[in-house]
Each structure stands twice: as C-alpha cells, then as structure tokens.
C-alpha cells in the first residue's frame, strides 16, 4: 500500500469538469436532445389502487388530430417479453410481469395504455380521452393487512403477499438471553420515500429500420445491463441496441432498472419506425417511478448490566409495493447482513419478510440499507436508556477495536481496515459530551429540550462478484476499462460506469493520470455509451471510486508499462527498470535521481502508432489497452455522525444546533467531490428523516403526488455539516480506495432519531417512527402530557404536600 502523500494526481482538490457546461446552460440532458419527427408518449395511468381492467376504449383518443396511435398491454405483449425474476434464493418466490398490465392494475399510477402524438400537449389531451373501465378490488396498503390469510392478493400468481422470507441464526441466542441482565426491545419504522431526482425519468428511442438498430437515449446509471434488458425483452441481439446516456439530472438509484414505460417506448419506436420520446411529469415520478424504504424493524438485545450486548435478534418487514423490478429481498438482505456493523456481536439472528402491497414498487434508493445504522445505534440508545447509562459508554463497551480486526460478523461478512471506534471518539471529542450534558441539564431546568445523538455507520460500498454469487443474485461486481494513449500523446479512457451528477469526470481522470503518470488535464474519461465504453456494471452503491477508479488506475498502469517498454527501446536501455513517466515526460533514474530522458509520452505514442517496425521485439503496435478488475467481495467505509438538537415543546419544531461527521472512506480521489457527496448524503438523509413521506390513504390513493405534499428539505432546513476526514487506506484495493456516498444517509437517519430521543428522555417517550415532523413530535409530547406528565406533576404535588 502506497502512503497517501506519494500520490501526485490522486487526492488533488481539482474543480469539476462538468461545471462549465452546467453553469452556462449547455448541459445536455435527455430532454435537451432535439430529434425532428419524434412522437411524444403519454401514459394513461390507473386512478385506482387495485382494480380489474374490464375494457379500454381508445377510439376517441385515436381519432384526435395529431395522435399517431394508442396502445395497451396486449399490444405490447406482442412485441416484448415479460420480465421474469426467479433467482435461486431460498424463500423468494419467482414473479413475472408483462410490459404493461393486461388484466388488472396493482397501484395508483400503474400504466394501462400509452398514447403517441405529435407533441406532448396533444398526447396529454388524448390520454384523457382513453376510456378505461375498471372493477375496483380492495387495496392492501400495509404489511399487517397484506399478511392476513384473507387479504386480496396483489400478485395473483402467488399464494399470498409474502413474496420473500428468510431467516438466519448464528451463535446461541437462547443461551445469551438466559445470561442477560435484561432483554431490551426496540422498534424502528422507516416510512416510504421516493428518490425525486430533479430530472424525472425519460427516454428517446430511435429505431433505424434500415440497419435494424435501436438507439436508446436514456439517463441511466447502468448502460450495459440496461442494453441487455432492452435487447432481451425486445427479442433482439445486443448488437442491435445502443444505449447512450446524456447528462443526468440526478438518479439516486431510480435510474438503474429498465422500467415498463421505457420498454414500451422502445418497442413502439420499432413498431412505427419513428423516433419516440417520453418525459414523465413530476406527478408520475412521485407516484409511479420507484419508491423505497418503508421498512419496519424490531430488535431484541440481550444485555449485561454494563450495556454489553450479548445477543441480538432482528425482525424486519419491508413493504415492497406491487411489482418487483429487483429480487424482493435485494435491499432487506443487506440490512440484515450488516446490521451488527461497528459492534462486537457474535450471537445474532434475523427474520426478514418482504411483502407485496398496492403501492408503487420499491427499488434501491441511495443507501438501500438506509435504516441499518438507525436500527443498530437506536438499539444501543434503547439499551442505554433502559439501563440508565450514558449512550456513549454503551457504544464504547460494544465497539469493535483495532485489535478485533479483521472481524467476521455473525453473518460471515468480514470487516477489516475500518476505524469505527476512532471515528466515534473523534466525533465525541468534537462535541465535548460532558460539556453538552451540563448544558442539557441546565436547559432542562429551564424547560427546554436539548438532545445529543450519535450514530456510527459501517457502509457497504463496493460489492464484488463474490458477494453477488454468495447472495444468489445474477450479476457481477467487476468493472471494465480501456485506456488509449493517442498518437498525439493525449489520453482517452473509458469505464462502464455512468455518473448522474456526482462529478465522475475529474476524479476518474485523476485515477488514470496517477496510473499513467500524465497531467490530469490530458486525460478524458468517456462514459455512458455502450458502443464506446466497455461492458461494465454501472453505478450503484458506493462502487464508483473502487470499481471505476480502481479499474481505470490498473488499466492506466498497464498502458504505462507498454509505453515504458517502447521508451526503453527508444533510449537503447535493456528494459523499463529505471524508467518512469512523470507529468508526461519519460524520466530515467540516473546518478540517484530522476532525470528527464529527453523523450515525452507523445514521442513514444508516435513511435507506437506511426513507426511500429521500430518497436522492440514482441511489442505490438499502438497504445490501446483494456482490463477488467473484480474488487474484494465487499469493501467498507465507516463514519460516526453526531448531532445536537433542540425541540420546541410547544410546537414540536426541531432545530439542529450542530452536525458533525467523522468519516473514514479510504484513499480519496478528489476531496472536493467527496465532500460534496458527504454533505449531499446527509442532507438527503435528513430530508427523508424529517420531512419527506409518500402517503397512501386506506383506499390506496397516493396523496403525496406533488412537491407541495412530498416535502423535500430546502436550504432553511439543512444545517451546516462539519466534516472530520479520518481516511485510512484499504489494503486490498488499488491505491486504498474504499468508496462512499451512501453512508451519510445511514448516519443522518440514525443520528437525528437518536438525538430526538435523547431530548425526549425527561418526557418519557421514545420516537419509533419517522419522519420526525413537528406534528409527530407534538403528538408524542401530547400523549405524554396526557398521561405521564400529569402523573409526574401530581406525584410531585403529593411529595410537596408530604414534605
């Protein structure tokens, strides 16, 4: 492992390359692509949560001027195959869905028909003229009622709504609970979210009837897997489909799967031999794109009197919505696998149920395992509260220490090169806990509610192919790159990721620059075009830096080695020992120092391309190399979040006085981009924990379909976030990268709930359900005022009388 300060290009705080085009209004997002003659698609969507489709009358819509066609599920079934998900995972039921529903709709917003017209206005007019006759069925809108034996079935091909059920046990939970001083039970309900990227979904499909080739312009995080899905479901070869991702206005996990609307648009472009484009509106995005979370957890911790956790049980139930675009255990499984995270727990059991309901289908949203750290660190706080201990001490008593590493979690996941106790102590020191406790006590005397929370995060970042294999999920975690030193000496490179706003272009160029030895500005990294980029697994989780940056770095080293072999021939030395590329110059180690040889990389490149007969024996012409790299089964980053809050007892308003993140995410390619990801993740996590909520009523109507209902935090709600960088390298990855960008969600959800509960200790209530809106906090305070608080007062009065 190279020490951090040995890097020349990696770690530089370079500003982002994307900025210029975005700042002058010249970014190219999907809807900015002009395509003369394109038809505009508009989907007719179900107004019911659950209903049979009796008939669809398209005649009036078809007759409207400017309408090119109206199509329903049966039409699409002629031109596309169904999506069947049946990975060999025990306890997971196979599911299948058609491109558009044919017999029944399963949630409010389910697409029933699609109208194509000359412009979007006409398409929307015509969509309103499509007459669908429905026979409503009772909707199931919560997991409890969905699991009743007589519940209506969301998917009638299944025996019930329990689509996935897994359980696991390690160690001896019964023995640990027998030894325990106490069993502490805690509940955690994380509500339904949706990703809400500022740019909604959309696509532009362009069928070339002459070449029999589909070009699909679509903002996607995973261009090659999407191409495979498109080709397969259109019954085409992968050579017949090109996926091109323009600039993406945010994705957060929502732009990975091939959605039904996109497949329908592609099929119709081929059917009509015309370009077809679609951009969903915000209501469609909020109700019908993809939802996330809505996970209910119960933990039972067997604890000693000092707070040491001897054994831990988890019961998890996820409300998955109506359709599976991912294996139903995809997100829940990771939560259960890594729950024990930063703590030394060996006896552990979980029971994980995933349930179908009449809601928009779930998908991975930035931190698919978002609830994990709240559940674990919230359990710690429940233990501390029940035993009357300082929560920080309970963390210390259970924390993994450096000498415990590598540590195999009870699920078999191995942690090494992580520093959770170090980040905890750094965050605690920054807060000055004794001083805070004193302030808190003084405030309580004055009737004010102050709270302090901690939350330590173990963030699973890069999933290697061995993880996928062990999980039974088809797919791989490897990544692919090519690096081409062009005859002029500039460097083109490519990798199978696609950024959606993070700012990949600069840090990934830095990784190439480091591996090759050229200035960052001479490198361009091309992404998002399946005919240009190598087949890669795309952007998911926190894999961008480790899988993407790591692969590019190794590939650049391979290009460097070839360039140096050619340089050795040009310099008449035996081999490349004692040669290096430094800022694009070939240097020789002579007289105990590196000296410019007189050659540049451009000289070497010209020789490689234009004078190949002069190359050393065994060296092929050109400087064009490719490479694949499979990261370790899993890489982990870690962090501790600390947060001070105050609750206004009269209104339930929560204000955040201080927010700190101490984070170790390994070697950082570009600290500017990493800081942006850290702040952005915390903001998104807090927004979700405090404000955002997808709400369905009892009939399955989505009543959070605008940004006036689905509230996203503004600049007035997000606090200043102090970052304490504490990065240490991972010894198993190229240059020590660990990956990051989701942990901020995990930590912020946990820390804000823990801080609120700390503030509420004198009231005697505990938050078990998010979001922490003023209304919810007031309801808790009101309940306490009605019961405990009055009792406390009357007891106090009695004592006063007695005294």
């Amino acid at each position: 492992m190279t020490a951090k300060n040995d890097f020349r290009y990696i770690g530089q705080p370079l500003p982002r390359r994307e900025d210029r085009r975005f700042l002058i209004g010249k970014g190219r997002y999907l809807d900015d692509i002009a395509m003369p003659g394109a038809l505009h698609a508009c989907f007719v969507r179900s107004p019911h949560g659950h209903a049979r489709i009796l008939s669809v009358d398209c005649a009036a819509a078809r007759a409207m001027p400017g309408v090119a066609g109206v199509f329903v599920g049966e039409d699409l079934a002629c031109w596309t195959t169904s999506l069947r998900l049946a990975p060999p995972i025990e306890g997971l039921h196979p599911v299948e869905m058609t491109t558009l529903p044919i017999d029944k709709v399963r949630f409010h917003g389910d697409p029933v028909a699609v109208v194509l017209a000359e412009d979007r206005y006409v398409a929307e007019d015509a969509a309103e003229r499509v007459e669908v006759e429905y026979e409503p069925i009772d909707s199931v809108v919560d997991t409890d009622s969905a699991l009743r034996p007589d519940a209506p079935k969301v998917d009638e091909a299944l025996s019930g709504n329990l689509v996935s059920h897994q359980f696991f046990s390690a160690g001896d939970i019964a023995a640990r609970s027998a030894e325990a001083e106490r069993i502490v039970e805690a509940r955690f309900d994380l509500h339904r979210h949706t990703h809400s990227p500022m740019e909604t979904r959309g696509c532009l499909a362009d069928w070339d009837a002459g070449r029999e080739h589909l070009t699909m312009h679509i903002g996607t995080q995973a261009p090659h897997p999407l191409r495979g899905q498109l080709a397969g479901r259109l019954r085409m070869r992968e050579t017949q489909v090109t996926v091109i991702s323009p600039d993406i206005g945010g994705a957060f996990g929502q732009k990975i799967a091939l959605y039904r609307e996109e497949l329908a648009v592609a099929a119709l472009s081929r059917h009509l031999a015309r370009p077809v484009r679609w951009r969903e509106d915000r209501m469609e995005n909020l109700t019908s794109a993809s939802h996330a979370r809505e996970t209910h957890c119960v933990t039972r911790a067997s604890v000693r009197a000092d707070g040491r956790i001897l054994g831990l049980e988890l019961e998890l139930t996820e409300d998955f919505g109506a359709y599976c675009f991912y294996p139903a255990n995809y997100m829940a499984r990771v939560i259960a696998m890594i729950l024990t995270g930063p703590y030394r727990i060996n006896d552990y059991a979980f029971d994980v149920k995933v349930v179908l309901t009449n809601k928009c289908g779930n998908g991975p949203m930035r931190a698919p395992m978002a609830i994990t750290s709240w559940v674990m660190d919230g359990t710690i706080d429940a233990v501390a509260s029940d035993l009357g201990l300082e929560p920080l001490e309970v963390r210390r008593v259970n924390a993994l220490r450096a000498e415990d590493l590598p540590f195999a979690m009870p699920t078999g996941e191995v942690l090494e090169d992580v520093t959770p106790l170090e980040t905890l102590e750094a965050a605690a020191a920054a807060i000055d806990v004794p001083a805070f406790r004193q302030r808190q006590e003084e405030a309580r005397q004055a009737g004010r509610l102050l709270g302090l929370g901690f939350c330590t995060v173990i963030e699973s970042t890069t999933y290697g192919s061995q993880f996928y294999k062990a999980a039974g999920i088809p797919g791989s975690g490897h990544e692919a790159a090519w690096v081409r030193i062009e005859p002029s000496g500039v460097v083109n490179a490519s990798v199978g990721l696609m950024g959606s706003g993070q700012g990949y272009e600069t840090p990934l160029a830095q990784a190439v620059a480091e591996g090759l030895g050229v200035p960052t500005e001479s490198v361009i990294v091309h992404m998002g075009h399946t005919d240009i980029a190598p087949y890669g697994m795309g952007s998911r989780g926190g894999r961008g830096a480790t899988a993407g940056g790591g692969t590019l770095y190794l590939c650049a080293q391979k290009a460097r080695d070839k360039a140096l072999a050619i340089a050795a021939g040009m310099l008449n030395v035996n081999d490349a020992q004692g040669l290096r590329i430094h800022d694009g110059r070939i240097e020789q180690y002579l007289d105990a120092e590196w000296q410019h040889s007189g050659l540049t990389l451009s000289d070497v490149a010209r020789r490689a391309y234009l004078d190949p007969t002069a190359l050393p024996e065994g060296i092929t012409p050109g400087l064009d190399v490719s490479l694949t790299y499979d990261p370790p089964p899993m890489t982990y980053s870690n962090a501790t979040h600390a947060c001070e809050v105050e609750i206004d007892p009269a209104t339930g308003r929560l204000s955040i006085a201080r927010y700190i993140v101490a984070e170790d995410c390994g070697t950082v390619l570009n600290p500017v981009v990493v800081k942006g990801q850290q702040q952005g993740a915390v903001a998104m996590g807090l927004s979700g924990a405090l404000m955002e909520e997808v709400v369905y009523d009892s009939a399955g109507q989505n009543i959070s379909a605008t940004f006036a209902d689905y509230l996203i935090a503004s600049a007035c709600e997000v606090p200043q976030i102090e970052i304490l960088p504490m990065h240490t390298p991972n010894r198993r990855t190229p240059v020590g990268i660990k990956g990051m960008a989701e942990g901020g969600i995990m930590g912020s959800i946990g820390v804000i709930a823990n801080a609120v509960n700390d503030a509420l200790i004198p009231i005697g209530v505990r938050v078990e359900q998010l979001p922490l809106t003023p209304q919810r906090i007031r309801a808790l305070l009101r309940a306490a005022e009605c019961t405990d608080f009055r009792r406390t007062i009357s007891e106090t009065r009695m004592k006063t009388h007695d005294g």
């Binding site: 500003p15 982002r16 994307e18 900025d19 210029r20 085009r21 975005f22 700042l23 002058i24 209004g25 010249k26 970014g27 190219r28 997002y29 809807d31 900015d32 002009a34 979007r120 206005y121 809400s196 990227p197 500022m198 740019e199 909604t200 600039d247 993406i248 206005g249 945010g250 957060f252 509106d281 915000r282 959606s500 706003g501 993070q502 700012g503 500017v672 981009v673 800081k675 942006g676 702040q679 952005g680 993740a681 915390v682 903001a683 998104m684 605008t706 940004f707 006036a708 996203i712 503004s714 600049a715 007035c716 997000v718 200043q720 976030i721």
Partner: protein
C-alpha cells in the same frame, strides 16, 4: 382558442417574433421554439424553482407562465449570464465552491441570485438561505451553494481580489 398567436418579446436582449399556441408554457417555448435548453423543467407546478428565469429583471417561474403573457416583455435566461468564455461572478463562485452536482437545478439558482444580489449586495447567510429556499437541490445539501453565493456577493461588492 388554441390557434397559435404571434407574439413579440425580448429574450436575452434580442427581439424575437414567434407564433405560439396560447396554452404553451414559457418554459416549453424557451426550450423548444427558441432552443434555449439551459432552462430546466423540474416539477411544472412552481415548487422546485429549476425553471426560474428573469421577466423584466425579476425572477419568475417559467413553468407557471404562458409564453403569450410575454408580449412586450423581456426574458433573461441562463444562456446570457456568462460573457463569452468568462463566467459571471456567481457562476465562478459556484464552480470554485462546488456549488453544483447534477446541474439540473443550477440555472434556476443562478437566475434567482443574479436578480437578488443586484438589489441585496451584502446578504448574510440566513438571508441567502431564505431566498434559496425557493429552489430545491437534491444533490448538494445547499451548504456549498450558500458559500458560493456569499462569495459571489463579496466579489461583486469588492472586486475579484476580495
């Protein structure tokens, strides 16, 4: 009622004569008819602020404005903010402070504060956050945007060396 109407408006200093259906939104006319795609449409119901442009110098939601209402008015969009290759002070500060990620909300923020800083050259952080609350950013957490706006205000007041 839906027959196209001829209107004359000034866009980024240039007089434009166009025929537009009365129901067509200003945001769509800017993007489709005038090919100024720097103005983005994020929600089409006036909450997110991505589509903010200046109408007669004042910030306005182009998704809540019909193009026909612009007869005789002056519209300013993100495309006019830089001078040739040179960023304006707000753009420069957003670049330096990493005040943007996906860039979709950026034009709306720049236009909002182009107007605001002209009339309020020395805002404090709380004032900047209050004004910025009309623009949703899903990526940055706002902290770097606030820092950039305060920096731009300083540069505009005191010159680039400040």
């Amino acid at each position: 009622m839906t027959a196209p109407v001829e209107i004359s408006l000034v866009v980024n200093g240039e007089t434009r004569e166009i025929r537009v259906p009365p129901r067509k939104l200003l945001s769509d006319v800017l993007r489709e008819d005038l090919h100024l795609t720097g103005t983005h449409v994020g929600c089409e119901h006036g909450i997110c602020g991505a589509c903010t442009v200046l109408i007669d110098g004042e910030p306005a939601r182009s998704c809540l404005t019909f193009a026909v209402q612009m007869e005789g008015h002056e519209v300013t969009t993100i495309e006019s903010v830089a001078t040739g290759d040179a960023f304006g002070p707000l753009q420069q500060a957003l670049h330096e402070e990493h005040g943007l990620q996906c860039g979709f909300c950026t034009a709306g923020i720049v236009m909002t504060f182009e107007a605001y800083l002209r009339e309020n050259p020395d805002p404090d952080e709380a004032e900047v956050r209050e004004v910025l609350s009309g623009n949703i950013c899903r990526c940055t957490g706002y902290q770097s945007i606030v820092a950039a706006i305060l920096k731009a205000a300083r540069v505009i007041r005191e010159g680039p060396s400040a």
